[in-house]
């Protein structure tokens, strides 16, 4: 019997959710739940960025702008007191998607290095708007006064366990959607654009439209990550939109691996855990992180998950070679 792949991913996600939901029952340690929420926010940010970097071959350095846009618009909508959480959530997704579509329309016309720089410029433009529009955003103080979290459907997000479960649930839904997108014909078209834009164009693919679509989707998912963060810190800070946020996203992708779907998530976990550990034991976070990155760049030369997955694949391939080789007549091996 053929099972729909989407159903299969959903079942796997549901199982993962059950496991994650069991954690608050086993331990009373709130800090584990906090780390979990951080991983959801940053993991979704990195996974969505990889839709651009890894799948479409667009090196965006402005992804943090949409993360911040998500956090700020959600916080501002909730502070008006006119919206329930699901309504504000939906409105924010629409807003961030529209914003990223607008940015994408300008940016996709540019090639490689210039694309990277113009996305960076847009992000810094947003950042400076956030800083200077003090009456709306609170400037460099961040969005203060807390975000009201009215109870909906029996979910009370003031309760850390509820917040954790809420973030995990939405996160898993987003992961399944993102995976579905990468496995769809749309996702394969993006990959073709990455590998050979010219050929894609010859085959009649409207390359720029696909790039805009990919950019819009990635922006919207990053906005959801930003909303997790806004809920978690009950506010929003300009640093969400600083260029280092985009930098962190790229490092998560590189640490975990860009060719494997879950690579960026692994990278997010590595970065967050490394951050927690180093800040406990030493003041020299930069020195430790820098050395770890050097090991990855000069040693592994790719992300951790890519290293493992490709290692296994190579081993399998070499075994296959060994079994096949004897059947090839020696004379036919071209010199």
């Amino acid at each position: 019997m053929q099972i729909n792949t989407f159903t299969r991913y959903s079942v796997v996600a549901l199982l993962v959710f059950v496991v994650l939901a069991a954690i608050p029952r086993i331990t009373d340690d709130i800090s584990i739940l906090d780390t979990g929420i951080m991983i959801c926010a940053n993991g979704l940010f990195a996974l969505s960025l990889n839709l651009l970097v890894g799948r479409t071959g667009l090196l965006s350095f402005g992804h943090g702008g949409f993360y911040a846009a998500g956090a700020y618009s959600f916080g501002l909508l909730m502070q008006t007191g006119m919206f329930s959480i699901p309504a504000a959530f939906a409105l924010t997704i629409v807003f961030v998607a529209a914003l990223s579509a607008l940015v994408a329309l300008v940016c996709v016309r540019l090639n490689e290095t210039y694309f990277t720089f113009i996305t960076l410029a847009f992000q810094m433009l947003f950042y400076n708007i956030i800083l200077s529009w003090t009456s709306l955003t609170g400037g460099d103080q961040g969005l203060l006064g807390g975000i009201p979290k009215p109870v909906f459907l029996g979910i009370d997000l003031v309760n850390p366990v509820h917040l954790y479960l809420f973030c995990c649930g939405i996160f898993l839904v987003c992961v399944v959607l993102l995976y579905q997108i990468t496995q769809s014909p749309f996702g394969y078209t993006l990959r073709m654009i990455r590998d050979n834009t010219e050929r894609a164009r010859f085959l009649g693919v409207a390359v720029n439209r696909y790039k805009v679509a990919s950019f819009t989707l990635a922006g919207a998912f990053a906005g959801i990550g930003g909303m997790f963060m806004a809920l978690f810190v009950s506010g929003a800070y300009p640093s969400f939109g600083y260029w280092t946020m985009s930098g962190d996203g790229i490092f998560m992708i590189m640490l975990g691996g860009m060719n494997t779907f879950l690579g960026p998530l692994v990278g997010a976990i590595i970065l967050i855990v490394l951050n927690d550990l180093t800040t406990i034991y030493t003041d020299h976070y930069g020195l430790v992180l820098g050395c770890v990155i050097l090991v990855f760049v000069l040693g592994l030369r790719r992300g951790l998950l890519d290293f493992i997955v490709e290692g296994i694949r190579d081993r399998r391939a070499s075994k296959m070679d060994q079994t096949i080789q004897p059947t090839v007549p020696k004379e036919e091996i071209p010199r």
Binding site: L110, Y114, F117, N128, M254, G286, L289, G290
Partner: protein, 300 residues
Amino acid sequence: MDFSSLIGCVSSASCMVTQSLSGLTIGMLLFLVASGLSLIFGVLKITNFAHGSFYMLGAYFALTVYQVTNNYFLAVCGAALGVGLFGVLFERFLIRRIYGSNVLMQLLLSYAVILILDDIVMLVWGSEFQSMGMPDLFRVPPIRFAGAYIPVFYLFLIVAAFAIAGGLWFLIEKTRFGKVVRAAAHNGEMAAALGINTSLLYSFTLGLGGVLAGLAGGLAAPVRSLVPGMGMSILIESFIVTVIGGMGSIVGAFVSAIVIGLTRSFGGIVMPEFTDGLMFLVMVIVLIVKPTGLFSKGRD
């Protein structure tokens, strides 16, 4: 927005002189950093994200040499040589290993170097703000011109930077070495096939970029405060300069550095809290109008 004070400034000679000079000062420092960045990109096709840290190292080297010898010119030379040497080592031991690999790898490698250098500077010189103070030589009364008071050091800085820019232009356009650099920038493999030692040239280019960044750091040390992480803001601004001017174009970097410097000093009057935003706005507009920068030869 405060346009009336801008009009007030433009109509007053003393304010014009002061603002133009401060814009030129910012612009010339930016040019020194951005030209190195542009040169490295032109020859090696690598974006050196650690270039801001080179500038930071230059400022700290100058501080230490100045404190030891009490001679500002030695301090600037020490900064230039020290950072130049660092650039060569950086190329030999790190950048060399990732030629031809992903842009992301370059980004990641540079970021690691930025993090490590910031922390090392913090270990060696401490994390608090430091300042070199005005060297004795320049502790003279400011020159009065058109009703404005001009610090002598600012004049020295601008003249020195112009001289360096002229020297760089001469080196690239008029000497045999410059020809080799331009050949390698145009087609590295072909240059190598014709017997040019490109491996040596790559090290040398990063060394030269380091010297320029070190000079910028040394020249900035008396007028800027020194702090770990100070390279970041100048890195971002130099990127804006190189992108507006066209990656790989020294003349473009020169012109756009002055434009950005003046944008900063005059923009600061109109909307002080949005000066950075203004620079990014200029960059967005330039990229939309001419996607490869104003002075690029259209090779990309």
